[in-house]
């Protein structure tokens, strides 16, 4: 298991890379940034991904797919901040959490209803919902909390 300080630094770098670029770093990016060997970074990343809920790598690879609340592959939960739509949330619930990473800024969640495909839009700032379109929009989990981590992608 990697040292706690290393895990903290990797966690910060991953989130800050998402915030700046809209996508996840690779373990080679992390190795270079931390001044460690690629293998040490790869193993530490594996430890970190196992420790944080809502994070996983593409099966059989070391590529980050999800690092809550962000997703590194396109989903129908798109996030716009300051006129830039370059972030993707892991799921509809995570989309409502992204606001906490952009403190003081207005963010917009653009999602789609899985029934009709039409837009669901939520504007937020610092955790507060400013506006919902349509106003009667709801959030839904198809699985109970106890089963969220059986297969996070289908909840």
């Amino acid at each position: 298991m990697a040292e706690p300080d290393v895990l903290e630094r990797l966690h910060q770098r991953i989130l800050r890379t998402f915030l700046e670029s809209g996508h996840a770093p690779t373990y080679l990016d992390l190795a270079r940034a931390e001044g460690v060997s690629p293998e040490d970074a790869r193993l530490a990343l594996r430890d970190l991904m196992a420790a944080i809920p809502g994070c996983w790598q593409h099966p059989g690879t070391d590529h980050i797919v999800a690092y809550a609340p962000f997703n590194n592959l396109p989903t129908w939960h798109r996030i716009t901040v300051g006129g830039e739509q370059k972030w993707t949330a892991l799921c509809g619930f995570d989309a409502l959490q992204v606001t906490h990473l952009f403190r003081g800024q207005k963010i917009q969640v653009d999602s789609n209803c899985l029934d009709c495909g039409e837009s669901v839009q939520v504007r937020m700032r610092d955790g507060e919902v400013l506006d919902i379109d349509p106003p009667e929009a709801v959030a839904h989990s198809n699985l109970p909390l106890a089963r969220w981590f059986d297969d996070f992608a289908v909840t």
Binding site: P4, L7, E8, H11, Q12, L15, R16, L48, A51, I52, P53, P69, H77, C91, G92, F93, D94, A95, L96, Q97, T99, H100, L101, V109, S111, C113, L114, D115, C116, E118, V120, V122, M124, G127, E128, V129, I132, P134, E136, A137, V138, A139, H140, S141, N142, L143, P144, L145, A146, T155
Partner: protein, 82 residues
């Protein structure tokens, strides 16, 4: 977890599980439940180290959101281990 245009749309969704009726919540209520340290303190320098201390706050908020429904609770053993 997804966002839908209304509760009616959830119930019409091809993959809707009728046992997930308790999983339908107003967007504002779900968003409010996420105002807990596990979610709001992701950029804190001790986030990973103190993850275990932050998880119960989210579980309590989700329990409150669910009004005591088992749908929004972990089984007692799993909760004790978290």
């Amino acid at each position: 977890m997804n966002l839908f245009r209304s509760e009616e749309h959830v119930r019409r969704w091809a993959k809707f599980d009728p046992e997930s009726t308790h999983g339908i919540k107003p967007v504002r209520e779900i968003a409010a439940a996420f105002n807990t340290p596990l979610i709001t303190e992701r950029l804190e320098p001790d986030y990973v180290r103190r993850l275990g201390e932050r998880i119960p706050g989210l579980l309590a908020a989700l329990d409150q959101l669910g009004g005591g429904s088992p749908f929004w609770q972990l089984p007692p053993t799993a909760e004790a281990d978290s």
